[in-house]
């Protein structure tokens, strides 16, 4: 999907503490392992737990020099569905952009709610994470959904990265739970 401008630009909407920043780092680090040039940076405002926040990621075959925030995202990922009512998550999206939302609703409903006519995908990342990880940690399963619908990196390379990053921090069992959650979101996103 990087054909047109040679770069994929991602914007992630979440709330402080939901792991939007970690998600953007995880995806670009996995992409970097595949030889890509990357950037990941949050929009730093007053940092408060629970407050709406935005983080950006760029993945490219060529060197990235700009430090402009992502204004015309190819992909928008919404980690917290309540943000749809508060934030214009579709700002700057074009007909070719992709919207992915963590929700237990159907994609068609989300399309209406967000007022977005383009490709929209829904995945119950919260439900999946509670079942698989035992906690509401939707950011990792959301990445499973993201790579399924966009193909920015392969499932294998994301899992490999998760193993590398998580194993020494949270141990084998929890790492496997995260991987299972990613796989389920990868399968169920629609």
């Amino acid at each position: 999907m990087a054909d047109a401008k040679g770069i994929v630009e991602i914007r992630i909407h979440g709330r402080g503490g939901q792991g939007a920043k970690s998600a953007s780092q995880l995806i670009v680090e996995a992409a970097m392992d595949q030889g890509k040039q990357v950037q990941a940076f949050p929009e730093y405002g007053p940092e408060r737990s629970g407050a709406p926040m935005v983080t950006y990621a760029r993945i490219s075959d060529k060197r990235i020099t700009t430090y402009e925030p992502v204004l015309r995202p190819d992909i928008v990922m919404v980690i917290d569905p309540t943000l749809l009512e508060q934030v214009d998550v579709t700002n700057g999206m074009t007909g070719k952009s992709i919207l992915i939302v963590n929700t237990n609703k159907k994609a068609a409903e989300i399309r209406n709610e967000a007022g977005f006519a383009g490709k929209t995908y829904a995945v119950d990342a919260t439900g999946i994470s509670i079942r698989k990880i035992g906690r509401n940690l939707p950011n990792t399963p959301m990445l499973g959904a993201l790579i399924k619908v966009t193909g920015v990196i392969s499932l294998e390379s994301l899992i490999e990265k998760v193993e590398k990053m998580f194993l020494h921090k949270i141990g084998k069992e929890k790492t496997q739970a995260n991987i299972d959650a990613i796989k389920e979101a990868y399968e169920k996103v629609a």
Binding site: Q25, E29, M32, P42, Y44, T65, T66, Y67, M165, K169
Partner: protein, 395 residues
């Protein structure tokens, strides 16, 4: 972050500007680091403290109660013959003010990364250059970094330049707070052993711990010698201008990167030129690429070395342009903005001068958009100058 990056051969890793700088400090393994945390610099020292705690470096880490003390400890260590480093920004740099002048006046080759941040008031934790620009007349060499990669490599450049026998001056390595300091990017770390060999050992000509050759440091100098001492300091800045290229060439052989006074990006045949520093140069490059593709004659001069200022070279690079805009992230209240002032000065001796425009942008972390840069290029291409200061991104 990918945990602690361990000892490495040359490899590509995802790092923020702060972690890239910490990686350089790890490879340098300085004798002493004395530092105090301040956003957005803190991650440099936090990461380095991990290296110390895990025995990856054998640095004496001094946890001080303020930045004034941090610089004081570095000065003491440096005069004792040690390789001393710290890092700071904004209010922390301001609190060091007094000791900054002592460090340069006593000719201490201290290296200090600065994650540029606005100065209060109003209180603001985000990027602009008011902190390091405020310190520009304190006798420190100042190098500005566009990216995490540059920040990483500039630390090595700074170290060998500071310790160069003809220089013996402290050096600041600036990166943009948050914009670069907290942005995860591809960084190519060079081989540990190679970098260790490059930095070598510090061999001071004089040191307080050299008991066989005792010296006095910090003695009072009144009307009798003060002037001469200060003139020598100014002379050392002149030497730094030459040594910068020499040290850069040495480092280049190790890293493969180049370390000119400034990068010329599309300057050949450019009618409209933007002069800027740090991350803004990266954003400007993206705009230059696009406008050049559309056949517009635009270019960028990205200044790396701000102190000492390479007047002659900047003049030669800009004299053929039709219109030059200087984009910068700080004021010098009541005067021309700092970078504009130097660019204007550098063109005084040029026979045929380009038109000049001063632009201030991004104070307190306000985003610089590509459309801001594009708009500036359009104005410069049209030869539109106002004779005063203009703003980009100001509401």
């Amino acid at each position: 972050m990918s945990g602690l990056e361990k000892k490495c051969k040359k490899k590509m890793v995802p790092l923020t500007g702060n972690y890239a700088i910490a990686a350089a400090m790890r490879q340098i393994n300085p004798d002493v680091v004395a530092a105090y945390p301040i956003t957005p610099q803190s991650a440099i020292v936090e990461q380095f403290a991990r290296f110390v705690a895990n025995g990856i470096v054998d640095t004496e880490m001094v946890r001080v109660e303020s930045e004034h003390s941090a610089m004081s400890a570095c000065i003491g260590a440096s005069l004792s013959g040690a390789r001393a480093m710290t890092a700071t920004c904004s209010a922390g740099l301001a609190l060091m003010w007094e000791m900054l002048g002592v460090a340069s006046g006593l000719r201490c080759p201290i290296v200090m990364p600065v994650a540029n941040r606005a100065l209060s008031a109003p209180i603001n934790i985000h990027c602009d250059h008011s902190d390091s620009m405020g310190a520009r007349d304190f006798g420190w060499v100042q190098i500005y970094s566009e990216s995490a990669q540059e920040a990483y490599e500039n630390v090595f450049l700074a170290l060998k330049l500071a310790e160069h026998p003809d220089v013996q001056l402290p050096v600041m390595v600036c990166e943009d707070g948050f914009i670069t300091s907290h942005c995860v990017q591809n960084v190519e770390l060079h081989d540990d052993a190679v970098m260790k060999r490059f930095v070598g050992e510090r061999k001071p000509e004089h040191s307080l711990l050299d008991l066989k050759n005792p010296i006095t440091v910090g003695a009072i100098e009144l009307q009798d010698y003060f002037f001469e001492t200060k003139r020598q300091q100014e002379e050392a800045m002149g030497h730094a201008l030459k040594a910068y290229l020499k040290v850069g060439a040495d480092l280049s052989r190790v890293t493969g990167s180049k370390y000119p006074y400034f990068d010329s990006y599309g300057l050949e045949g450019a009618e409209a030129v933007i002069v800027t520093m740090s991350s803004a140069a990266g954003t400007t490059k993206a705009v230059v690429d696009r406008l050049r593709h559309d056949g517009k004659k635009v270019g960028l001069l990205k200044l790396r070395l701000f102190r000492p200022f390479p007047y002659e070279q900047v003049r030669d690079a800009l004299r053929k342009a039709k219109c030059v805009g200087v984009l910068e992230r700080s004021f010098s209240f009541g005067a021309y903005a700092p970078l504009f002032s130097e660019v204007r000065n550098s063109l005084y001796e040029a026979g045929k001068k380009p038109k000049l425009q001063s632009y201030v942008f991004g104070l307190g972390g306000r985003d610089l958009l590509e459309s801001d840069v594009e708009e500036a290029f359009k104005e410069l291409l049209a030869g539109k100058t106002t004779g005063g200061m203009e703003y980009k991104g100001l509401r």
